[in-house]
Symmetry: C2
Subunit: 323 residues, 2 copies
Amino acid sequence: MVGIKEIAKRAGVSVSTVSNVLNNKKNVGEDTRQRVHKICEELSYHPNPAGRGLKSGKPETILFNFSDFDRSFYLKIINGISDYVNDNDYDLIICTDKSCEKYMNNSLTSGSIILDMKMRDEVLNRIASENYPIVVLDRFIDNPFIKSVVVNNYDSMYELIQSVVDRGYRHFGFVGGPEETADNKERYQAFRDVLAANHIDFQQKSYFAGNYREKSGYTAAKILMLSRELPDCLVCANDNMAIGAIKAFRENGLRVPQDIAVTGFDNCDLAEAMGLTTISIPNYERGYIAARYLIENIRGQKNTETFKIAAKIIFRDSVGHKK
Amino acid sequence: MVGIKEIAKRAGVSVSTVSNVLNNKKNVGEDTRQRVHKICEELSYHPNPAGRGLKSGKPETILFNFSDFDRSFYLKIINGISDYVNDNDYDLIICTDKSCEKYMNNSLTSGSIILDMKMRDEVLNRIASENYPIVVLDRFIDNPFIKSVVVNNYDSMYELIQSVVDRGYRHFGFVGGPEETADNKERYQAFRDVLAANHIDFQQKSYFAGNYREKSGYTAAKILMLSRELPDCLVCANDNMAIGAIKAFRENGLRVPQDIAVTGFDNCDLAEAMGLTTISIPNYERGYIAARYLIENIRGQKNTETFKIAAKIIFRDSVGHKK
DNA sequence: TTGTAAGCGTTATCAA
DNA sequence: TTGATAACGCTTACAA
């Protein structure tokens, strides 16, 4: 592995001069600069971030952490993060599991964006500091060094369900996501609040606990079909589960929306093809904004007010009009 | 940031003892071991990989590099890599752009899996070495330290097109991917070879150059519809472009497959919903296998024979039977 | 304008 | 069973 010493030797200068060239310090002669650059080029030398970070603690790199491979819109979030980060001359590394804690220190990365729910709040509270800011997606943490970027789940879900009620639907089922997650709680609460506001009854037996995966929506629908009376409309806390439910209904000869309407949340790639009524989350923008706040905070700003992203309701064929 | 010194001080021992505890050396007293572990726990201390890598050069971490966010099956590849890597007590970091070269050295990572075509062969040839093995996906590099894991594009495409010919189709169009990529070349070659074997004429004007994005398939179809005579079947080098083409056809009132059949390659999420006849690449397995070979080579094996993954043909409604 | 040397957090060697 | 110390690749005072 070619290092700074090798470059220095070949250029006939000291390592500090090479370092100065690479860090664009002005105290170095033009000819020396040229020579060093040329040699670095030839040997395709890249400073080792390990050595660099160890010393200076300013590793122009940020970390993104996620782990749910079933949620394909994550790629859009990564895309948004990646674009902002590149435009601002930072690097991005992504970790997909708990081991990312090892990289969350300011000799390797200068801040993190966290999406993985497996990363506990308490751990983040311990790691976040004056010189290691963190941005969390889809949850709220009250900490002066952690900024939350969340989707406005409540308002958009409220509006969607109210529209469905306006179309004449009165009997609802609900398939929830992981119960401890903030977004699931808000989506469910909005759903319940609309029903209450419209004096519509909802029984606990019509609630199905899922995990945001397609399979769990499929299973919920199968169970639902065993019951005596089907609801008019099955509200799902995300698209994957809604799609699973639609598949189950169709397999059993039920028509969507004539026999039962279905709604989702996310507007994933498949939602359009399946004709699913859902709520569109601007994922690219979400990543972009998260990266922007993180880098601003790394650069000294202290903005940790929670940011709420607006979502957009999209009506498609999976909901009709009930006379 | 809490480091080994802090732990040593609190435990009343030297840094080397702490290091020995953390690396499970046997030359340390049981009580000392316990005490050190307890303190690490309390402070949630993780050894800094920068310092560690710098010294020992054995950073149980591998790197994955990709950058095309439009290809959502990449998540499945990452999933496969992640699972194998975790099962073998390695860590995974992912880089999405050229800056990953910085992390491709054995003080930070011990090997890489490369999917991004923007990473040039010559660069990889320079980086790969005895103690930095590389696995490349979807391309072939002849280097004793680089293993290629590729999809058997040719055989599966050949079989698919022959089946389409068997169903009576005789007039073909082709939408290609980036011309320099190996997979596009093989898919196109198989296509041409089937036509030749069946004495079917193919004119250059029926070839459309795309870039694997949906938009380019859409555009190709739009252009195609301007020509006097439509082919019976439009063969696309991947699903995204096939889906773009189908959308364009439908917008113009053409029915698939009655007016024109369409085939893809990849079996992406949308393919099923769109009823697209395509070739299924086992992506999870692809990632898993790539990670397996990489880690085996890191551990001293020297297996750089090219590995070909079999793909599976899936007939759906986008191809019918031509009388 | 350039070079010397200390120090970043860790592991490895060797002495105690 | 432990501890002192050099070394890893790099940056940064500071000296020349």
